[in-house]
């Protein structure tokens, strides 16, 4: 027995982007503790933005000097590989623009502890108080998002999941308007999130019982020698799967999404709909491909059902929604289904895996940025009581604010996947990868993959209906007499919308720009 405890080796350079974000978050807490109230915001905003930009720069540097590690870092706990770095870059960009939205006045409650409608609330409001804790909370959440898809063992992944989720539970409850709805959303998200985390942890325990290790590579290795029909393995896999599928909002674990997206402050919704989704899909891919790649004979038929159900449920339920944020939430569910189609497309050679990985990474990047843009537009359409959520309030918006309505219409078309928008190429890439996978000789899913693509296309057609319905509503309906006012956007919000629009248009015309980067990231596949 070796009784000397070895000091762990940490590759600080490789992990620098993570450390910068977490470090800034901790500094943010100190600012909250020591800086006077009136100074806090002016310290937090640059600190948050700079740390995110800095972390992004570090990611770029790491790719540019081509020092992508070939093995896992931090004693095998974190895998910084091509896909991780791509996902990090995407998450950092998305969170950067989301912080620009968060920075806008009027989204967050003055005093979260005050009872809604009470005199305390009115006083805090009158005093102009602000919860500047929002910024460090966002940084912690972003740090969790970065770690989640890069975690190389199930325990690190679980910790990352919690680091990501806990601040979000809090942030969801901080909406300034319709506070009861917001607090309800926060509570539901917390309860259901805890429930699903328990599943994940239980699954982790089962898998440990099967493999004797929690590292993803170790589990994969154990499978190559052990039985593939061991109930410990199958149940453990199902349980971790539930935890991950919950986070991306796949059916039947999607129920939280509409309620939470609707109740949360819109900038936070934007962060969840983009950043969290990207991180969760990344983690899902890593678990399914690295740890459970040998089990694909079992899980692909099951995920087939989940993907089909998710697409159909998301598309069909979105039709009868009357609230714009709920509609976007169901749209997000449908898109999670499309992403799962890409996750399925993994049969055969490493080349096939790289193709579907590239498709998914591309999809995540373009879908994330379009989503942020769409929610940014939502923040601008306001009634006296807050954002004008009900769709009937959006009638005739095109007549009163043609530019804003036009931009929103464009985002919706991108969601629907109309050619010459980035959304088209995202869907095209994922579906093409799926068909290609099914066409590989020996794939037991064979024709079923084509079937899934057909389901996906039908779901897209149904989805196009409710996207176009909003466009029709905006441009071909008479405006309501007391219709919502269009808030004068701040520079930050303008920048967010402009960047999202540029990316959505630019990638639609010139997909090669992002495809090439995604391809580079995907070609190295995940570290095993």
């Amino acid at each position: 027995m070796n009784d000397v405890i070895q000091a762990p080796t940490i590759e600080y350079g490789t992990l620098a982007p993570l450390l910068v974000v977490f470090g800034a978050a901790i500094i943010g807490v100190l600012v909250e503790a020591f800086a006077p109230r009136y100074l806090r915001k002016s310290v937090h905003v640059p600190l948050t933005l700079l740390s995110l930009a800095g972390a992004f720069a570090l990611v770029i540097v790491q790719v540019a000097v081509n020092s992508v590690p070939k093995s896992a870092s931090a004693m095998g706990a974190v895998a910084v590989d091509g896909p991780s770095l791509f996902i990090w870059g995407v998450i950092l960009v998305l969170s950067f623009v989301c912080v620009l939205l968060i920075n806008d006045e009027g989204h967050f409650v003055a005093s979260a502890a005050a009872v809604p409608g009470s005199s305390d609330e009115a006083e805090a409001e009158a005093a102009g108080n602000q919860h500047t804790e929002v910024y460090p909370l966002v940084l912690f959440a972003v740090g969790g998002m970065l770690l989640f898809p890069a975690a190389n063992d199930l325990l690190t992944m679980f910790v990352a999941l919690e680091v990501m989720s806990l601040p979000l539970y809090l942030l969801c409850g901080l909406a300034r308007r319709r506070r009861l709805l917001s607090q309800e959303a926060s509570m539901k998200y917390f309860l259901l999130g805890a429930f699903s985390s328990a599943f994940f942890l239980y699954g982790t325990a089962m898998l440990y019982g099967y493999a004797g290790t929690v590292s993803l590579g170790g589990i994969s290795k154990a499978m190559s020698t052990g039985s593939l029909l061991d109930p410990l393995l199958l149940i453990g896999f199902a349980m971790t799967g539930v935890g991950l599928l919950f986070k991306i909002g796949a059916a039947p674990f999607q129920a939280w999404k509409p309620d939470v997206y609707q109740g949360a402050p819109t900038p936070i919704t934007a962060l969840m709909a983009s950043g969290t989704l990207v991180a969760a899909v990344g983690a899902l891919l890593r678990v399914f491909w690295v740890a459970l790649g040998n089990l694909d004979w079992n899980w692909r038929p099951v995920i087939w059902g989940v993907a089909a159900l998710t697409m159909i449920v998301g598309a069909i339920l979105a039709i009868t929604q009357t609230d714009i944020k709920r509609m976007l939430a169901y749209s997000s569910i449908a898109h999670a289904g499309f992403l799962l189609v890409g996750v399925m497309a993994t049969f055969g050679s490493a080349e096939q895996n790289a193709q579907s990985l590239k498709a998914i990474l591309f999809y995540l990047a373009v879908y994330g940025i379009t989503t942020v843009g769409a929610f940014a537009v939502v923040t601008l359409v306001r009634d006296p009581g807050g954002e004008a959520g009900h769709l009937s309030r959006w009638a005739g918006l095109g007549k009163r604010s043609p530019v804003l309505a036009g931009v929103f219409a464009f985002f919706l078309l991108a969601f629907a996947g109309i050619p010459l928008t980035s959304g088209f190429f995202g869907k095209y890439a994922v579906f093409a990868a799926a068909l290609n996978s099914g066409a590989q000789p020996g794939d037991q899913m064979g024709g079923w993959m084509a079937g899934l693509v057909v389901v996906g296309v039908i779901a897209s057609a149904i989805a196009a209906f409710f996207y176009v319905r909003v466009i029709v509503l905006m441009f071909f309906s008479e405006p309501a007499a007391d219709g919502p006012a269009i808030a004068v956007p701040s520079m930050g919000t303008v920048a967010v919308i402009a960047v999202s629009l540029l990316v959505t248009v630019g990638v639609g015309l010139y997909p090669e720009s992002v495809l090439a980067v995604a391809n580079d990231a995907a070609s190295s596949l995940f570290i095993r």
């Binding site: 599943f199 799967g241 539930v242 079992n298 997909p511």
Partner: protein, 636 residues
């Protein structure tokens, strides 16, 4: 015949490598002007001109770089990016043919931009006008520079859009709005042909890139396929170039501002059909094949139809529009003759770009001085009041009727001689057409600049400002010398040879051939007859009733009536029938389906109770299902 040289991939940088800038500059201009709309009102027109000039400079530099290369190297494909993965890479083809067009588009285009500063000075939407003009230049350059049919098609649709927007620029006039719509609808027919042609190319040859198509066709293809593709491309060309039977939109398109008529509906866009045919030479091979013959016949028929229409129009712009149809007919005829005719067709296209733009802008200058009056019966004796406009217009006039030694003489004569040699019947029809041209163009000149004043009460004709007359002067200089330079020692033919191939026999210019002399004689007769009727005799200020033939020409050879009875009426019946079926049959199915989906949405929605406990239960059930499914699959 000598075939075109192979297309080589451009490797080094240089101006050719950066030739996408030609497209990018005006596109950026249009973007800035449209996005920052009101804020650019004060300097928007200057930006528009600058962007067009910048494009011109790039085109000139690229032209000289191309000249510096050996003949084998003169077809440079510039790869830009992967457009549709696995199907089309976006790239540009810089070769003598495309660069000739680029020079014409940016050169004449810039002059017309400059002219428009003056012409549109009093229009409150001048900035919007320039943004559309820039958009047009950009799309037109994409059309001629793309190295594949998809890029060409995007440009094709882009110029269609710009044309639509500019014809309807004064959309408060119902006639302008209707004309724009008409142009749009008629062009759809042609575009459909082009698209189906592209579909057949893709399914047959598996590529849409010019270079690869050339190779694939060279390996052999069935005659039927080539004929089908050729005829479909011809349909597309007819739509864009206003050739029979899709000619009807061009006359109405004169509702647009005059610079638009000059740039889009005379000098550049309407010649896109000729470009398409010449660029697609591989499908119109061998000369004399059914599809090539069809091109020549369409050209000959249109050149006569346009000339006849031109004889009867009192609206100066419509007269010029008829003449444009007719001149493009000549180009089509030339393009239908194979490599022997290509150089003359393109040559006539270039010189026509100059003299027709010159005359359109001259007509605009006259209108500018006459309170936007277009009826030539209300003109007369203007030569003393607008001397510069008069002189430049006369130069354009002499060029178009083929007065010896001016531009049009050489290029038109080239087409006629080649046609008489290859297709005698069509050739002699072209000679007849030249005679009619002599008549109607002289009629226009006499009615406008000579004879008695027949002005409206409040007319105070005056010469236009320098910003308008300067482009006229430059264009008229081109109208004098360009033709001789291009044709006399086969300069253009040798330059184009790497791109379109060259005929076996190098043509030599002979001034005194039978068709040449016959043409000159007929033109002289036509001009003399016009002098007797419209120069010497008094022109009635109100249109006389005219004979059966005159009415025939005035009504555009009953083109609209034919379209109406053959297509519009049956089309309307068809739509009514379709609406009936749609309401009764299709809607029933669709609505049923939609109601089904909506109903299931409503029912599923009830699962979303809002209670966290229900959600947790659904997660539990889901987890159970997932586990069960996994275990089940494992045992199969």
């Amino acid at each position: 015949m000598e075939s075109p040289v192979e297309i080589v991939q451009h490797t080094a940088g240089g101006v050719i490598g950066a030739s996408w800038l030609m497209i990018a500059f005006p596109l950026l201009g249009a973007f800035i002007l449209l996005v920052f709309n009101r804020f650019t009102n004060r300097w928007g027109h200057l930006l528009g001109v600058a962007m067009s000039l910048a494009s011109f400079v790039v085109a000139v530099l690229a032209f000289f770089e191309l000249l510096g290369l050996g003949e084998e190297q003169r077809r440079q494909a510039v790869h830009l990016y992967e457009f549709i993965p696995g199907m089309v890479d976006m790239g540009l083809l810089i070769d003598p043919l495309s660069i000739s067009f680029a020079l014409l588009i940016t050169g004449v285009g810039s002059l017309i931009h400059i002219y428009s500063i003056g012409y549109m000075a009093h229009d409150e939407h001048r900035r919007r006008f320039f943004s559309y003009l820039n958009l047009f230049v950009s799309a037109m350059l994409l059309l001629v520079l793309a190295d594949n049919y998809v890029g060409l098609f995007i440009g094709w649709e882009g110029v269609g859009l710009a044309s639509y927007l500019l014809i309807g620029f004064w959309q408060f006039k119902p006639s302008a709005a209707t004309a724009a719509k008409k142009a749009f609808v008629v062009n759809r027919v042609g575009d459909f042909g082009l698209l189906v042609g592209m579909f057949i190319m893709w399914t047959t040859f598996g590529t849409l890139t010019f270079s690869q198509l050339g190779e694939e066709v060279g390996k052999g293809a069935s005659n039927g396929t080539l004929t089908a593709i050729g005829l479909l491309l011809l349909l597309g060309a007819c739509g864009k170039s206003a050739q029979l039977p899709l000619q009807s939109w061009l006359l109405d398109a004169m509702e647009g501002p005059t610079p638009v008529s000059a740039l889009i509906h005379a000098a550049t866009m309407v010649t896109a059909g000729v470009y398409l045919v010449v660029r697609s030479g591989a499908f119109f091979f061998p000369e004399g094949s059914a599809q090539a013959l069809a091109v020549a016949i369409v050209g000959a028929a249109t050149l006569l139809a346009g000339a006849i229409i031109g004889c009867a129009k009192d609206d100066i712009k419509k007269g010029l529009a008829g003449s444009t149809m007719s001149q493009i007919g000549y180009m089509m005829l030339g393009a239908g003759l194979g490599p022997a005719g290509y150089a003359f067709a393109i040559g006539h296209l270039i010189t026509h770009g100059f003299f027709k733009a010159d005359m359109f802008l001259g007509a605009g200058s006259v209108m500018h001085g006459m309170n936007d009056e277009v009826d030539m019966r209300k003109y007369g004796g203007l030569r003393k009041y607008m001397p510069l406009t008069f002189v430049t217009f006369i130069v354009g006039y002499l060029a178009i009727i083929g007065f010896p030694l001016l531009s049009g003489y050489f290029t038109k004569d080239g087409i006629i001689e080649t046609a008489v040699h290859h297709q005698p019947v069509l050739g002699w029809l072209a000679v007849l057409g030249a005679g009619i041209t002599g008549f109607y163009m002289s009629r226009m000149v006499f009615m406008t600049f000579f004879g008695q004043k027949r002005w409206a009460e409040n007319a105070h004709p005056h010469e236009s400002p320098a910003v308008m007359t300067l482009p006229l002067i430059i264009l008229s200089i081109g109208s004098i010398f360009l033709g001789g330079y291009l044709i006399l020692s086969n300069t253009l033919m040798d330059f184009l040879a790497p791109a379109v191939g060259a005929p076996e026999v190098r043509p030599e210019f002979h001034p005194f051939t039978t068709p040449g002399l016959a043409t000159l004689a007929l033109v002289a007769v036509g001009a003399a007859y016009a002098w007797m009727k419209y120069g010497k005799a008094e022109v009635p200020a109100v249109q006389p009733r005219g004979s059966f033939l005159t009415t025939f020409a005035r009504r555009d050879l009953y083109g609209d009536a034919i379209n109406e009875s053959l297509f519009m009426r049956p089309g309307q019946w068809l739509t009514r029938l379709a609406v009936f079926f749609d309401n009764r049959g299709v809607d029933g199915v669709v609505n049923g389906l939609a109601a089904g989906i909506g109903g299931s949405s409503g029912r599923l929605r009830r699962l979303q109770t809002g209670f966290a406990r229900t959600y947790a239960l659904s997660i539990l059930i889901g987890a159970a299902l997932l586990t069960g499914a996994l275990l089940l699959v494992g045992t199969i």
